[in-house]
């Protein structure tokens, strides 16, 4: 129960940070994807199921406020949480390289899914522009922010685990 409350709070705080704080300190108009870091991190720390549910609710939150139709971002984030769950077996908390690579790749995947479904299908074919100006900066910025956010999430996760094993 405690775990559910804490994770819900993390998702809500992540969403609030992304829509307010990080929007105010954008680098070249680009925002890091905090909700993706949370989804992806819980995916490889806790497994597919948790990754999926956290992704689903993070995406739903975006859908309600900003989605053109409800369900699209929920599906994308859930998929990313699921895929990250496969890497639980090779995950060690001390190692920061794997989380950074995984989160970077997840963000790239997210960007491509967004491009394909929200832009390519509307006939916007200029992929090279979007890749250089939107996707690449977002991935780089997200990976940089991972340094800080991942440590916080890891700390909370270990604190939760210490509660569970009591």
């Amino acid at each position: 129960m405690l775990k559910k409350i804490v994770i819900t709070l993390i998702v809500i705080i992540g969403y609030l940070l992304q829509t307010t704080f990080f929007k105010a300190i954008t680098l070249a108009g680009i925002v890091p994807n905090i909700l993706l870091i949370i989804t992806s991190a819980f995916g490889f720390m806790r497994g597919k199921n948790e990754g999926m549910f956290i992704g689903f609710f993070s995406g739903l939150l975006i859908d309600v406020f900003f989605g053109k139709i409800i369900g699209f971002y929920a599906l994308v984030y859930m998929f990313i949480g699921f895929v990250n769950g496969f890497f639980r077996r090779i995950f060690y908390p001390e190692d920061i390289k794997l989380p950074m690579i995984l989160i970077g790749l997840s963000d790239l995947l997210y960007c491509f899914l967004c491009y394909i479904f929200l832009f390519l299908l509307r006939g916007k074919l200029h992929l090279s522009y979007y890749f250089v100006h939107i996707m690449l900066p977002e991935v780089v910025y997200t990976v940089l922010v991972t340094f800080i956010i991942y440590r916080i999430i890891l700390f909370i996760d270990e604190w939760l685990k210490s509660f569970e094993s009591r």
Binding site: L16, A74, L75, Y130
Partner: protein, 286 residues
């Protein structure tokens, strides 16, 4: 520990959960695309759980930026004040001229029995409390909703320029899609010549602060750089006569019939903290 183990051995494999959630998402997409069944409840729930926090953060942020701006701007403002005083003198002369024209116009209008076309719209102010999470689109959430009388398709302004249009409404929040958003399209009109054109938001131009226009038929080459573009009276969602921006680049299309180019918006979308929602809706015959 044993209890946890026991529960896990009965749990559903994740591939089935994945399948169930996928079906759920897809059915939600279909439902929200075709009907309004799930949007309403979700928007209400989100309105009461998330929006209060956003309002708090927004207010705190506005206070902080307000303080830092105060310190920074005193010097700037004194200089600006001197410049503006000169402008006032210039403008007073122009206002007098225009005033004279206005009387004449009113007189002529009454002669022709025409109504005043661009009467003042009713507006309510709102604060921006959250912006689009991703980098692909440009929409934002404001702190007024259906309880304050806001409905979808209401126009949103800032200062004298058009900002966008309300797309979805919760009880205490509303989502506004700005005109620089990649999926935004509106029918505009060049003020000087009354030629209509289509204004389209474009992600590729968002950084440079432009929006695209196209389909301008201007056979006499009357439209020039710097002309003001306003919303046209044939648009079915935008009220007529709201300033969109100024033409900054114009060129002939390869078909030799229409012209297209860039518009510099009248609103600074990077520093958008408060907006005005026009509560008059465009009346449609159907």
């Amino acid at each position: 520990m044993r209890k946890r183990h026991g529960r896990n051995s009965f749990s559903v494999p994740s591939k089935y959960i994945f399948l169930i959630l996928t079906i759920l998402c897809v059915s939600m997409m279909i439902l929200s695309f075709t009907t309004d069944l799930i949007n309403g409840p979700l928007e209400t729930v989100a309105g009461y759980t998330i929006v209060p926090f956003q309002k708090g953060i927004g207010a705190a942020g506005a206070w902080l930026t307000g303080r830092s701006d105060d310190l920074k701007k005193i010097k700037e403002l004194t200089r600006e004040n001197a410049e503006l005083k000169e402008r006032i003198d210039e403008l007073t002369i122009r206002v007098n001229d225009l005033q004279r024209d206005k009387y004449e116009l009113a007189e002529l209008r009454s002669l022709f029995q025409l109504n005043e076309q661009y009467s003042d719209y009713n507006k309510i102010g709102a604060r921006v409390i959250g912006k689009e999470t991703g980098n692909w689109f440009s929409s934002f959430v404001i702190d007024k909703g259906s309880k304050d009388g806001i409905k979808p398709d209401m126009n949103v302004m800032s200062g004298s320029g058009l900002v966008g249009i309300v797309t979805s409404v919760g009880p205490n929040w509303a989502n506004v899609r700005s005109i620089i958003d990649d999926s935004s399209n509106l029918s505009g009109m060049v003020m000087s010549t009354s030629d209509t054109l289509i204004v389209t938001g474009d992600l590729e131009l968002m950084d440079e602060g432009y929006i695209r226009f196209s389909d301008l038929i201007d056979e006499g080459d009357m439209v020039v750089k710097g002309d003001q573009v306003v919303t046209s009276s044939i648009s079915n969602k935008y009220l007529p006569g709201i300033s969109v921006g100024f033409i900054s680049e114009i060129e002939k299309d390869s078909n030799n019939l229409t012209k297209s180019g860039y518009i510099t918006p009248a609103v600074d979308f990077k520093r958008l903290n408060t907006v005005l929602v026009v509560t008059d809706l465009k009346e449609n015959p159907n």
